[in-house]
Amino acid sequence: MDKQQKQAMEALKAERIKLFRDQAAFRPTERVPHFCNAVTWKVFDAGDSLPEALTDFKVMEHSVRHFLDNYPVDGLMDTGIRNQFNVMEAFGSEGYYYYTDEAVGIKDHALCTIDTLMDYLEDEERYTWERVLPEKFGDEWNQKTLDQWKTAFKEYLKYTYFIIHMGSVSGKEYGVPSLAPNNPAKGAIQFGIEELESNLLGIKELSISLRRHKALLKEFCDKWDEKHIDPMIEKVYLSDGPQDDKYCFDASMILLSHNILNPKQFDMFLWPSLKRMLDAYAWKGESVRIFAEGSILRYAEKFNRYPKGTITFHLEQDDPFEFREAAPNCAIMGGLDTEMLANATVEECIAHTKKLCDELGRQGGFILSEGKMLSYKNDAKADNLKAICDFVTNYKL
């Protein structure tokens, strides 16, 4: 790329960041931006092999470049850095994950029991080293050779470089900005109840423990807050404020536990921590993108207390029109579901996209995106996605 091309890409990236920021803040824009949620679908679309792409950075880079060359998206959720298995392959750890020509999966399991939760909280690193990793990687965990460790660390460094490299490729060569800082609150935002569901207990054990061991779980969540969330909140209050020129949002978080919590449990276990965090962002005038897995519609009103521009909900399964009714102060990311992308005609896709832009984006507050990640080859027809990308790029509000 020559200097002129680089400058053009910088300008394009800045223009896209402004588009995202304006829509998130309900400021009318010339067009609606599209933050694409394509993940491993890119590999199939490029004609690459999934097993190769997951273990060879060059193949994955080819898939990502093929996607960015063919689909004019304004943002890309995954630049090929999810599900890379080089490190674990180098470590000789089989059985923890699997992949076929069509799919990749993790053989997930809970890291704690209700009886060991507090042990974990007391010394997370030690517990992880002594309890979690042996269980996760099997009996051979303690028999790793020095060479295996060295190889794994080398692969980890390569992986780190790949993450930086792909961020640079998408930003500098395609003008595609990053979603949010990697450490928006100087650390990944993970609330206690989310950690319990996603990693420590799992959905079933947590569901049962919410009834059988309510007090213990509450104690865990409070202590988790003190240890992890309170310092983050403090850093948000002490931060410099919005980073308008660098990222589309100031922070990004994922919520999952609302899918199992009843209203009383939501108010007891998630809302207090989440509210304090959102209060901090609102006070600083920063914008937060929240990816709501499953459905969060029934709790939408709670979030409507925040001023426009604070929260953008990335909806996985909720209807964006219903959500707008329920929480008119929250911007929306979404609108495209895999069912339509996979089965509808090009004309139907464009008509739906036009409706989204007209009804949700004209006054600001809407960013086009796929709700569910595009993972499998039948999650979208290439023609449909291409037509949507072209349409939304050219459609003036």
């Binding site: 069509e102 959905i203 009834r211 009843n262 895999t338 069912e339 993972s375 499998y376 039948n378």
Partner: protein, 209 residues
């Protein structure tokens, strides 16, 4: 045996209280065991209603399934087997290429409480296994579950396998789970679809009646 108290304990998810009632029945040589089972099932129906109304959510259904199973296990030695599954056998499974089982297990608990003998074939079940089981067991109701969008393809493959075996007209098939919608139901060729366990139960009961 206080039937209403058992219904309330189940509906309110009062685990210890429910088990106490079950143990009391066993201490009395199983007297009233059939009524107790029916009370549990009625309580489970209320759990489903509270889920529909938004008072309970998925975690509560998981818990309800757990305590219903345990309560039934306590009184099982006293049950004669008569009239427990008035709607007969049906098949439930998560389809090929999908390993999720939580939704399936919730539905199983609700179906069992709703009067079915559920043959749970597990997760990642290939179409031919489902067809063969239906054929060998003479089962007419099939419930296919999935969470991944990939599961939609497997649901379609399963229904195609029933057609290939010449059995499509002999069975009723309901699909359910996160990626399932009315359009998906039509595109895979299923007879019905559901996102809630309650709807699954009522559809299957209507088919079995």
């Amino acid at each position: 045996m206080d039937k209403q108290a058992i219904i309330d304990a189940m509906a309110d998810l009062e685990e210890d209280e429910l088990y106490d009632y079950m143990n009391e029945i066993m201490d009395n040589d199983g007297e009233g065991v059939q009524e107790a089972l029916e009370a549990c099932q009625e309580g489970m129906k209320i759990v489903g209603d509270r889920f529909e109304e938004g008072e309970y959510f998925v975690g509560d259904l998981i818990y309800a399934g757990e305590i219903l199973t345990e309560a039934t296990n306590i009184i099982k030695p006293a049950l004669t087997g008569d009239g427990q599954e008035k709607y007969g056998k049906m098949i439930l499974c998560t389809v090929k290429n999908d390993l999720h089982d939580i939704g399936k297990n919730i539905v199983r608990a609700m179906l069992e409480a709703g009067g079915f003998e559920v043959m749970d074939l597990g997760i990642d079940v290939d179409p031919q296994t489902i067809v063969d089981t239906a054929k060998n067991e003479g089962i007419k109701i099939i419930a296919l579950s999935g969470v991944l969008t990939l599961a939609v393809d497997s649901m379609k493959d399963t229904i195609e396998a029933f057609k290939a075996a010449g059995m499509r007209d002999d069975v009723k098939i309901i699909v359910g789970g996160a990626p399932v919608t009315e359009t998906v139901c039509a595109s895979v060729g299923a007879d019905e679809w559901a996102l809630s366990p309650q709807k699954t139960v009522s559809v299957c009961q209507a088919w079995a009646s």
